[in-house]
Amino acid sequence: MRVLLTGMGGQLGTRVTNLLEATDGFDEILGIDLDPPRRRITRAEFHRVDPRDRRTAVRLVRDFEPQAVVHLGIFEPNARSGPTAARIGTAVSAVAVLGAAAQCASLRRIVVRSGIEVYGRRRGAATRPDELVAPRPTSPFGASLLHVERVAAEAGLAADVPVCALRFAPVVGPSVPSPLGRYLRLPVVPVGLFSELPFSLLHQEDAAAATLAALDAGFDGPLNVVGSGAVTASQAARMGGRLPLPVAGPAWVAARVAAEVLGAPLPLHVRELLLRGRCADGSAARSALGISARSTPDVVRQLYDWETVASVAVSPS
């Protein structure tokens, strides 16, 4: 199978590439991203393409004639790029790659990375929505993800192929560039004084395994992929030996500025998660893809379980 993979330079994209390379049946793998892969790739071909460069992306896709598209080219605000660049990059990249892929007669299936941010957390919204709950995002990142899902659905309709939208819980880890991960690793973590609802997380390995399983299964429709259980922000901070600092109202402005100065900017979707929580029902993905994700408390523990200084043995020769 010829697989086109966008977002190969991200943590998730690189891991999925390595898994595809190690799996029989994926003869050709072409990857595109703004950044190069984070680990060594053995047989996949990588092209460094700016997500706003639609012409180059379209040409690469048409020339490759993919049988499967794995679209992981999603830019989370304040992960690797600012909110505006993330929004534009996500939108342009989705239209270019999925639009071009839909015109290829070879296309058989599409898998896109989305997130449970699409459900939104407005007052009265379902606390643990399943895939039947209509998405109504309440953050710019959620809106971006929903746009990608709609572009993918349109492409799937045009090409008459199944489209699986993987709605991931926030993926955090020691080496994952995530605004939530950076925020929770601050020495003092501002949390909501009056409102603090639980959220679920997803381990990066489980996200990669789910992507591969979805590619293999050819599932048609959205699937929530979340770790079992949940934690609150202050609980997560305490698990990491951090000090949760309850704040409310205008104090959030000061907390946001302080966090940004310390290298952990707080985008809207992360603030929403801290105050309103973010969970989803992942039972459909477990039965459809046969995956069993690590629990959210385990993901939090591994977020803090990293070396601040790593000793590297260097040979003088």
Partner: protein
């Protein structure tokens, strides 16, 4: 079967448990489920709840030991009833009840979620039942006359039919400002039909009648010559 619970316990074990609970909270080493229930916190406030309500539970054997169920219960003012039901079921069956109808407004909503409250949404109830939880569904408030079961919202029972979860009638007898409460759990209500537009409405009617029967039975037990 009758069980009485609610006496405040002042023992060394309780104090040790409280200290361990506080320590777990400081370390973040406690569970919170996706809907916000915090069993550790419920345990910590247990002495307060025990001092407030003395609860007698009858028919606890009708509760499923594991798996989902809908508990349809009557209420007058609706202030004590959710707490009485939740505490009664926890003591008699060791299970938490997720009562629907909390406001999604801080700070009340988040606090109520910690104690087991959930939103009144059919998809919320469906998710809880799929996860094998006990869901408390209150009937309409019925202040006067007393001991009359109010109507059940039909939409609240549709998830039970969709998931196949049993519906149990529960009568709560007590005074808002009083301490003694009785909880009577009836046998599961068998739906007349499992599907179709009428199924939930008929199930709601049957359940209301069964709760009323339990309330009448409780009144007879109180006034043997009346």
């Amino acid at each position: 079967m009758t069980e009485v619970a609610g006496e405040p316990i002042e023992s060394m074990e309780e104090s040790t448990g409280l200290l361990a609970g506080v320590r777990r909270r400081m370390d973040g080493d406690f569970d919170v489920d996706e809907w916000g229930l915090d069993p550790d916190l419920v345990h910590l406030v247990n002495p307060v709840l025990a001092a407030r309500w003395r609860i007698e539970v009858r028919g606890a054997e009708n509760l499923p030991v594991v798996g989902p169920a809908v508990l349809a219960f009557n209420r007058r003012f609706g202030l004590s009833e959710p707490w009485v039901l939740a505490r009664g079921m926890r003591i008699s069956g060791g299970r938490f009840v997720r009562t629907i109808g909390i406001p999604d407004v801080a700070p009340v909503g988040p606090v109520m979620r910690r104690m087991g409250g959930v939103l009144d949404r059919p998809d919320e109830i469906s998710g809880l039942l799929r996860a094998g939880q006990l869901v408390g569904v209150p009937m309409q408030r019925q202040v006067r006359p007393r001991a009359v079961a109010g109507e059940l919202t039909v939409a609240s029972l549709e998830p039970a039919l969709a998931t196949g979860a049993p519906v149990l009638p529960v009568a709560l007898v007590g005074r808002e400002c009083g301490r003694r409460w009785r909880v009577l759990v009836g046998e599961p209500v068998q739906p007349i039909r499992r599907a179709g537009p009428l199924a939930a409405a008929e199930l709601a009617e049957s359940t209301q009648a069964r709760v009323q029967a339990l309330l009448d039975e409780a009144a007879r037990a109180r006034w043997p010559f009346g």
